[in-house]
Symmetry: C2
Subunit: 331 residues, 2 copies
């Protein structure tokens, strides 16, 4: 587990999109961040207090979280002296970048010298079991998508927020780097060894109170040739009671696969239910979450209404409308 | 690649089943083995010449292949002195066991001292790419099963043998430890990191001559809660033109999952085709391979005839009948 609260490191983020991780923490766990650290040329702003390392420590920060990704997800050489100083002043460092903190000799040396931790959340640090498929107590809801990056994490977090506001028992269960950094725990599923994928998901979503819901972050898509195996392990390890179908209506082809068209929501519903019934015959689709970011307001409303009528399921954009109707649809 | 020919190490195999890897080499690549090495108490026999290490080297052996697995797939302490001696006499060592040769200090020391290689085929030694889903040339046939361990490897090897006898272009493509040791190459798919599973299968089955067939070894089952993600990565990375359905009719439940019944061959056909059509709309089921080991001859014949009539597909036990009718069914 990553020690909180955090100082969000925005580095020299060229634009707000590059600070996706910081934005996620700001949106979903604002209490976890005492402030932000920006370098010369930073074009992202989380609307948090700008702090020096000393001010952050004074404010109680325990971990500097790398909230920015430059092109290629690399650690920028210009960041290194800040990260080193942070360790010498008493902060741990956490990152979800492709190249690892532990592979930077200067950071490794600073960690050895100071005893501060380097958290590379892209790398599993647990020996996960092989899945046993046994029926578990508690309820689980899984977001499945027509494609990668269509709003599955956002949907799960929005449902968790809504459920906690209603004083329901609910826990968002991250399965990717951003989700892990946002919440401080989870599994980096795409980095788990094949044989243990479904077991890692079982480990993440254990037996629970009968009225407790795990909101499991989805990954990839059953229809995505590169990552479909990860998605199926999530379905079979997650043993969902409810599915939420996620979709982005303006996408021209599967992400990264120019030769592949997106499936219809009907195809997704049928295939995801067929797969999920293998581990839970009573699974149902609770609703549909559409990322309408690419549509104007009228077009979005029209699209949501059309899908809702066609599919006979509550259809919302949780960013515009909240996740209330999806939560209402859970049995 | 593992240097051949091999000396097959049978150790103190308590029964013939424990020497499954050696038996596979004996059955499918007999030219690769110069002889066998048996210790006190060995109850397996490959009907090869019993050899000392010196005799094996004299006969040209380059690698001692651990062809035996004791309970738990561990390296037995009683084997270590033989493996050490083998290295000092000039043999490499290859193993597919769970615990690794490289984790045995005495073997590692012998490897450092002698320069002989330790091949742990359970661990990938290639940095596989992420799958790109692009259409490849050549033909590919994939075995898919109602369950794990129902004869998928055997089916692929039997089809390869039949095709080579007919002077067709064909290559068996192993995706598991036994297959890798039998042929000297392949991918240990269950040990590949999730994100790279489908890419590893693409890497294994690249563009080829239009009339060349890859016979891809299947793994797991779409219906097996523990391993289904591996199976789907094989289907989407393998981009099969033809599928062969594999089944073992006497199994009471999914292997290792007492609460899960086996799917029907119809369910397997429909789900595997649905999944494979995502990457190749023209995919078809060529035939059905049944492991009738658990049935007597009359019952086996009756079962095969019943399935063939019901499914309308050539149905054989390649061990009893050969794989000729499966090969005939390839388009």
């Amino acid at each position: 587990m990553i020690q909180s609260p955090y100082l969000l490191f925005l580095g020299d983020a060229p634009d707000p999109l590059a600070a996706k991780v910081a934005q996620g923490i700001r949106d979903w766990r604002p209490d976890l961040a005492v402030g932000q650290y920006r370098m010369e040329g930073c074009n992202a702003d989380m609307d948090l207090l700008d702090m020096t390392l000393d001010e952050a420590i004074e404010a109680g920060a325990k971990t500097l979280v790398v909230g920015v990704a430059n092109r290629g997800g690399m650690i920028s050489p210009s960041w290194l002296h800040v990260l080193e100083s942070a360790m010498h002043k008493g902060l741990d460092i956490a990152s979800g970048l492709h190249n690892l903190l532990r592979d930077e000799p200067t950071l490794m040396a600073a960690s050895m010298a100071t005893g501060q931790a380097l958290h590379d959340v892209r790398v599993p640090d647990v020996k996960y079991p092989i899945a046993n498929g046994r029926r578990r107590t508690g309820k689980r809801c899984l977001a499945v998508g027509t494609d990668c990056s269509v709003g599955k994490m956002y949907t799960g977090l929005a449902m968790e927020r809504e459920m906690l506001e209603r004083e329901m028992k609910a826990t968002f269960r991250p399965t990717g780097q951003t989700g892990i950094l946002i919440t401080g725990g989870g599994i980096p599923l795409d980095a788990v060894v094949a044989d243990f994928m479904a077991g890692a998901v079982e480990w993440l979503t254990p037996d629970n109170d009968p009225d407790h819901w795990d909101l499991i972050e989805g990954q990839g898509s059953l229809f995505h040739a590169s990552y479909s195996g990860v998605t199926l392990a999530l379905i079979h390890g997650g043993q969902p009671d409810a599915l939420v179908l996620c979709h982005e209506p303006t996408r021209k082809h599967m992400r990264g696969l120019p030769d592949y068209a997106l499936p219809s929501l009907e195809d997704l519903r049928d295939l995801a239910l067929t797969m999920a019934r293998i581990v839970n015959p009573d699974v149902y689709v609770a609703g549909i979450s559409v990322n309408t970011h690419g549509l104007d307001e009228d077009a979005a409303e029209e699209y949501l209404a059309e899908v809702e009528a066609r599919m006979g399921l509550p259809t919302v954009d949780p960013f515009r409308d909240g996740a209330g109707r999806l939560v209402d649809a859970l049995k």
